[in-house]
Structures are given as structure tokens and as C-alpha cells.
């Protein structure tokens, strides 16, 4: 089964929300916490549903998201 992982660079994220808007699986959300620039950064809230499409990283204006895709073994 194809899975994804999103690494959020909290200090790069400016909380614009374009990734949340672009995600077809709703796996991202605002963290409710703030980085040193005062931005409410995004968190990878729902890893189980991520398929690694990369849409969030493609629309991210700040290179704050690095997306990986992998095959998970033993899951139908």
C-alpha cells in the first residue's frame, strides 16, 4: 500500500494554509502552536491517511514541507 510522510520544517512554515487547502486527504492541520517568527505552523496531523501525493509540498511557498512516498509492507 502506498503511503506518505510529510516532514514539516516548523521554522520555515508561515502558516499560510495553502497545503491544508491542497491536501485531498485532509492529513494536515494548523498546530495551534507558534514558531519563533510567531507563525501558527502546520502539523502532519493524520499520518495514517497520507498517500504521499506531494500536493502539499508542491503548493508550499516556503519549502517548509518535504514529502516522502513509500510502500508499506503487510497492508492490503
Amino acid at each position: 500500500m502506498l503511503r506518505g510522510q510529510v516532514d514539516v520544517d516548523r521554522e520555515r512554515c508561515k502558516g499560510c494554509g495553502l497545503c491544508i487547502n491542497a491536501c485531498p486527504k485532509d492529513v494536515l492541520d494548523f498546530s495551534g502552536e507558534f514558531n519563533s517568527d510567531g507563525y501558527n505552523y502546520v502539523e502532519f496531523a493524520d499520518p495514517d491517511d497520507c498517500v504521499g501525493c506531494g500536493f502539499c509540498g508542491i503548493v508550499c511557498p516556503d519549502m517548509a514541507l518535504t514529502v516522502y512516498r513509500f510502500e508499506e509492507e503487510g497492508v492490503a
Partner: protein, 257 residues
């Protein structure tokens, strides 16, 4: 946050998207939701894919993207306001073995540097020009630019731009397409994944044209300026779809390659 995903057994983990190798770790100084950052990354990805990091020289405008030299791990020259196409011309003529790109906003390309922009295109200089159109002057506080839409409110047109007083939105790409010099002129946007992929292809094509000696390529890219538009980043995307694209339609305008 991603502990669960990292703990599962996985193989062939591939990076789908992230920071290109030709870019530095320095954070962008762009406002939240600004499309400049997306466009910068696409140029970095194109440089990586073409393997031209060592021979690429960028020229940066005065404007929000003035700090390209901080963000790209390549050589960048930052000329006086509006002179980007002219300086790119000089670099390319002195070092034709290098890949030279000009990165300009609409204030830089279509107002202060119009003379330089038009003549570089008319000469068919073998350079790649990225023209970022956000319909106003972003860095200085959202003043009207030649590209501002009719009726658009800016800090210098608080009642909206009126054609009678300020003329019409200038369509640089269509204007330059009437010249014999340019090889490739296209208008793109980066507000969703399909547009971003299309813009990336156009950027790569612009670089390829130069590498193959085909001449002048202009890639205009519509960009959001949520702060100065008074919109949140998602609303700004909708404004490009609903209003900006109606005046500046997307697609290739000429392709003589």
C-alpha cells in the same frame, strides 16, 4: 507528529518534493502565501534537473525577490531597478557558455525597466526571462503598477484604477509577442498543482531554449500578493482564477522554437 509513519517498516522511500539542491537553507523573506516562493522553488528544481547549477547565473530585480542571491546556491547579480534584462544581456554576451536568467516583477519588468525589457526581447537575446506579475508593487506597500486591473484598489488608487486617469493593464507578453525577436513567450500560474506542473515545464523549456541557442524566452507567471490584496492566501488564489486570469489569460502566446 510523524512518528507513527516513520516507525512502520518501509522500503524504497522516495522524496516526492522538498528543497532543491541548487537552493540554500536561508528562509524566504516573502509574506505568508506569496507565490514567489513556489516560483523560486520551480526554478531551483529546473536547475537541478538540467544539471546546470555550476553554469547558471541569475539576475534579480529590485522588489520582494531582491534577495535571490541568499536563496539560490548559484551566482546572482542584483542590478539597479528595471535593468535586469539589460544586465542579463551583458552577462550572456560576455559569457555565452553560461546559462543566464532574469527574474523580474511587474514593477521592474513592465514599468521601471520597460525600455530594457522591450529591447532585450526585440534583439532576441539568448536569455531566459521570468516575469512575475502580481498586479501591483508588492515590496513598497501595494501601489498601482501598470499591470493593475481596472477597478483594483491599491494604496495609490484607493477608489480603484480608472482607465481614464491611469490607462489600462499593460499586457507585456502579448505586446512582446508582436516582435520578431522572441522565440518563446508563455503565461503561466502557480495557484494549484496542475498549473504548477505546467509552469515548471515552461521554466524548463525556457532554459532548454537558451542552452540550445534558440534565443529569447519569456515566462510570465501570475502571482498572488495576499497581503497587499487584502485577502487571505486561499482567497488570493480564487482572485487569480476569477479576476486576474480574465485579463491575463494563460497559455503559450508564441513558440517559434
Amino acid at each position: 507528529m510523524s512518528d507513527k509513519a516513520t516507525s512502520v517498516k518501509k522500503k524504497d522511500m522516495t522524496k516526492v518534493v522538498g528543497k532543491p539542491d541548487s537552493m540554500n537553507d536561508t528562509h524566504f523573506s516573502y509574506c505568508p502565501g506569496c507565490h514567489h516562493g513556489i516560483i523560486n522553488r520551480l526554478i531551483g528544481e529546473a536547475i537541478d534537473e538540467l544539471g546546470i547549477q555550476e553554469e547558471t547565473i541569475g539576475t534579480a530585480p529590485v522588489g520582494c525577490s531582491v534577495f535571490l542571491y541568499k536563496w539560490f546556491d548559484i551566482d546572482v547579480v542584483q542590478p539597479p531597478h528595471g535593468r535586469v534584462s539589460a544586465v542579463a544581456t551583458g552577462i550572456k554576451r560576455a559569457r555565452p557558455d553560461k546559462t543566464v536568467f532574469a527574474y523580474q516583477g511587474d514593477g521592474d519588468f513592465a514599468s521601471i525597466g520597460t525600455n530594457n525589457s522591450v529591447h532585450a526581447a526585440n534583439r532576441g537575446e539568448n536569455i531566459t526571462v521570468f516575469f512575475i506579475n502580481n498586479t501591483l508593487y508588492g515590496m513598497t506597500g501595494g501601489e498601482m503598477a501598470p499591470t493593475t486591473l481596472i477597478g483594483q484598489k491599491t494604496t495609490t488608487t484607493p477608489g480603484g484604477r480608472k482607465a481614464k486617469d491611469f490607462g489600462y493593464p499593460i499586457k507585456m507578453s502579448e505586446m512582446l509577442a508582436r516582435l520578431d525577436g522572441p522565440t518563446y513567450i508563455t503565461r503561466q500560474a502557480v495557484y494549484d498543482v496542475p498549473r504548477i506542473k505546467s509552469a515548471k515545464e515552461a521554466i524548463v523549456k525556457g532554459f532548454r531554449n537558451q542552452i540550445e541557442g534558440k534565443g529569447y524566452s519569456l515566462i510570465e507567471i501570475l502571482s498572488a500578493c495576499p497581503i497587499n490584496w487584502g485577502l487571505d492566501p486561499v482567497e488570493a488564489v480564487e482572485r487569480i482564477k476569477d479576476e486576474v486570469e480574465a485579463v491575463y489569460p494563460l497559455g503559450d502566446i508564441i513558440d517559434r522554437g
